[in-house]
């Protein structure tokens, strides 16, 4: 029943995913023109190795190049690397670089530049959010100017995924430009400071105004990019964004608010709305432990007064939440109810929905067993940050669902920084609704959910989670890895360390005249093959 219902949507998604490049390839691309792109959020800064936010990353992958990229169907294609090889023991990755790749300052992209970039990412002084992804890397060695070898401490099954798309992938930096300019210069996007090897050169970034990129004529792929220029503007209000799109003021919306998709379809019927696999989890996280000594981030932990008890976590998160109802109300049905920690579109995901059927009677009974009832009502807070309105909607539905099991949930609406401050710094909270980040593999979620991660907000201290992650990442046999993935996802649900609600749909919108774009969610946003059929 379920698969029959999903089939048409799957076909539509497939068509969306595949139609753009096909359309582009069927006609001969036209050169020139300016692609006008709209972002819903401001670019934080332009130091690609440290700045947070997808908006920066989508610039980084056009100004910069890396070693490999990943296609929508999960295949790896060379970027600056022409080919690569893994040693039989899985400890050595040798990349052969293309001969003609240049940075925008004219210096060659060679093995030394690759080593420089990875060493920089791994250096704690850089304070890169990507550093934790490189934990398996022992060293980077230059074999000759066009061959670079990455030596691992232990086999790592996701090395190529990591290079291609963890936090959207490695961006190579020109050693000369990086040493010549300061981090502050790069953050500001000063001319000459942000030097990559991608299809577009950075021309100017005016925070709050625009970001302009221009074609790099010496880009290593012959004939591309087709566009002369890409201009990015930030339009935060979705209604304004829709109006600008309808009026033809923008060609491409890089991330469109899911709750406005139906309106856009009705208003602009020829808009090309792209979506695909749901790779972002929408979760209602519950705090598992609190500092015993009251000092935030203390290693001495005590159970959270409410959700420290697994029975309460299961009553509330597993049986007390009707995920289908949330999806129907908050996403108008455009998402998949999903209890597993890995969203439905992520590699090695397992459907574990059967482990948490909506059963308010059972939830209520479990709460009674713990001692909650009319005499001792269960009351907790839900934090919903203001970054996306859907968080508040979900929190409101959960609040309503909690009344059905005799619990009271109070919603606390805060801004994003306050939410980050509270959760990252081990502040007082009970539950929050957030969608965190897009996950290409289960492995990429380790830094959000293992017991030692700063970003593991629930602060569980279960070492078995770390052990499962390590086993999963080191297992080179895909079949065996799937089994570990299943074990891990079931373990998370059994312990409710990660209370997923659903996948979180991601939408991009293009004008019909924008051709040649290949949709690959947040992971790969490249304009090199885009052209304008105007």
């Amino acid at each position: 029943m379920r698969s029959r219902r999903l089939l048409p949507s799957f076909l539509v998604l497939l068509a969306c995913t595949l139609s753009l490049p096909l359309t582009g390839e069927a006609q001969s691309p036209k050169r020139g023109g300016t692609l006008r792109v709209s972002y819903g959020n401001e670019i934080s800064n332009l130091d690609f190795h440290t700045a947070p936010g997808y908006e920066m990353m989508w610039v980084a992958m056009n100004v910069g190049c890396g070693l490999v990229n990943i296609t929508p169907d999960g295949k790896f294609v060379g970027d600056a690397a022409e080919s690569w090889q893994m040693s039989p023991d899985g400890l050595l990755y040798t990349f052969k670089l293309r001969k003609n790749v240049l940075f925008h300052d004219g210096t060659p992209v060679d093995a030394a530049a690759v080593k420089f970039s990875i060493d920089r990412l791994m250096d704690p002084a850089t304070k890169s959010g990507m550093r934790s992804f490189y934990e398996s890397v022992h060293s980077v060695e230059v074999l000759d100017p066009l061959q670079v070898q990455i030596r691992l401490k232990q086999p790592y099954a996701f090395m190529l995924h990591m290079l291609a798309a963890y936090r959207t992938g490695l961006v190579l930096y020109s050693p000369i430009a990086t040493q010549k300019f300061s981090v502050e210069d790069r953050k500001q996007g000063k001319p000459g400071a942000v030097v990559g090897c991608g299809p577009f050169k950075l021309v100017e970034w005016v925070k709050g105004g625009h970001l302009i990129m221009e074609r790099f004529d010496k880009y290593f792929v012959p004939g591309v990019p087709y566009l002369d220029r890409v201009v990015i503007r930030t339009i935060k209000d979705p209604v304004t964004e829709m109006a600008a799109f309808k009026a033809g003021e923008i060609d491409f919306i890089a991330s469109f608010s899911p709750e406005h998709v139906d309106t856009l379809k009705a208003q602009v019927p020829n808009a090309v709305i792209m979506t695909g696999k749901e790779t972002t989890p929408m979760l209602a996280a519950m705090k598992v432990t609190v500092p015993k000594d009251g000092k935030p981030m203390s290693k001495e932990r005590a159970p959270h007064p409410i959700f420290g008890d697994l029975r309460v976590r299961k009553a509330v998160g597993c049986y007390g939440i009707d995920r289908k109802e949330i999806v129907k109300i908050a996403f108008k049905g455009h998402a998949t109810p999903w209890v597993g920690m890995n969203p439905p579109g992520t590699l090695d995901t397992v459907d574990v929905n059967h482990m948490c059927p909506y059963d308010p009677a059972k939830a209520k009974a479990m709460l009674t067993e713990v001692g909650y009832g009319p005499a001792k009502p269960l009351t907790f807070d839900i934090i919903a940050d203001t970054e996306k309105s859907v968080f508040n909607v979900i929190a409101t539905v959960i609040k309503e669902q909690m009344t059905r099991i005799g619990a009271t949930a109070n919603i606390r609406v805060v801004d994003k920084v306050s939410w980050m401050n509270t959760t990252l710094q081990d502040g007082p909270w009970d539950m929050y609704v957030e969608d965190l980040l897009s996950l290409i593999t289960l492995d990429s979620n380790a830094y959000l959910s293992n017991s030692t991660s700063t970003w593991s907000h629930p602060r569980h201290n279960d070492k078995r989670v770390d052990e499962l992650y390590a086993r999963y990442a080191r297992e080179m046999d895909a079949g065996k890895r799937k089994l570990i993935a299943k074990e891990m996802q079931e373990f998370f649900v059994e312990n409710m360390y990660w209370n997923n609600i659903s996948g979180s749909p991601f939408y991009m919108v293009a004008q019909p005249w924008m051709k040649g774009y290949t949709y690959n969610a947040e992971f790969e946003v490249h304009y090199d093959k885009v052209w304008l059929d105007k």
């Binding site: 947070p52 500001q188 709050g208 209604v239 980050m420 990252l424």
Partner: protein, 324 residues
């Protein structure tokens, strides 16, 4: 008069300092700090502590304020913690957009309020008066963002993109960056909806106020005398009545600048304009203290200077007023 102006100018200094101090303390009191936003997904407690030390964020609020003030005296407005960009240059890039928006919003407000209030006062209790006062009541009651969305839906969404929905085109000769759209016509197209959204509410308020003043003034003896002298209605209304009725309105106009700056935050966000309003709100959301201080400083300064100009306008409107 010069002494008075000098004294008023000197009074600006403590006023602005007081405002910036209050803002500084308030910003430090709200949860969250820029380090969380700066580190993003690289956040670790150890790095956060180091960065707080490096930026002096671990020091007492008063010390931080004094440091900021010390730099300000030397002309250094500081740099954004998040982007490293100098605050002063960011403020200067964005100031012209907001100034233009505020000036044109006030112009829209006056263009609506002046005729509406005169007609309302001269034709009191007629349909024209009822229309003017009803419109004023509606205008006061509708917030800027709502008017903005309505305008957006009408002119950008509904009428096939008659007016651009967002962004900015600079007036010729005012482009503050390497690349920008520059055109007088384009600028007018871009500023029209935001100025209307921001100006309509002010128009409504001024209409009510000016109408009440006019009603009071046209019943005074000197207006009766002017009419008795045989003056035609036009100079009686415009020269004798309206000019005197303007004094309380001008006072309110000065005070309204503060509301316009507040309204600019909403309107600039809605129309995605690269002005000071969006700069201020982004700075507050990301807890970028240096940028917030820059925003507070420039808006406080603008507010007190405009109110000084308002006080000076009294002498023009009523020659009996003298400052010493």
């Amino acid at each position: 008069m010069r002494v008075w102006i000098l004294r008023r100018l000197l009074q600006i200094v403590p006023t602005v300092l007081m405002i910036t101090f209050v803002v500084f303390v308030m910003m430090q009191s709200i949860p969250g700090d820029p380090v969380v936003a700066l580190l993003g997904d690289a956040y670790t407690e150890e790095d956060a502590i180091k960065i707080r030390e490096a930026y002096g964020l671990d020091r007492p609020v008063l010390v931080q304020y004094v440091i900021w003030l010390g730099k300000l005296v030397r002309g250094d407005w500081g740099a954004s913690i998040l982007t490293g960009r100098p605050v002063l240059s960011d403020v200067l890039v964005r100031l012209p957009v907001t100034l233009e928006l505020i000036v044109l919003s006030m112009a829209v407000a006056l263009a609506i309020a002046v005729p509406a209030s005169i007609i309302g006062a001269l034709r009191q209790n007629t349909w024209a008066d009822y229309t003017a006062t009803s419109m004023a009541m509606i205008g006061v009651s509708i917030p800027e963002f709502f008017i903005g969305v309505l305008l957006l839906l009408l002119f950008s969404f509904g009428l096939g993109g008659l007016l651009p929905s967002s962004g900015w085109v600079y007036l010729p000769g005012t482009c503050p960056t390497m690349v920008c759209g520059v055109s007088l016509w384009g600028n007018l197209q871009h500023v029209l909806m935001p100025a209307l959204a921001l100006g309509v509410g002010r128009a409504a308020l001024l209409t009510r106020l000016l109408r009440a003043s006019m009603l009071e003034v046209i019943r005074t003896e000197y207006v009766t005398t002017a009419r008795a002298k045989g003056l035609s209605e036009r100079p009686v209304v415009l020269k004798h009545a309206f000019k005197n009725a303007l004094i309380p309105t001008v006072t309110v106009m000065g005070l309204q600048v503060g509301f316009l700056i507040g309204g600019a935050i909403v309107v600039e966000t809605l129309f995605a304009m690269p002005g000071l309003g969006t700069f201020g709100i982004d700075a507050i959301i990301s807890r970028d203290y240096q940028q917030v201080q820059g925003f507070a400083l420039i808006t406080a300064f603008a507010f007190v200077v405009i109110n000084l100009l308002v006080d000076l306008t009294y002498t023009f409107l009523d020659p009996r007023i003298r400052y010493a």
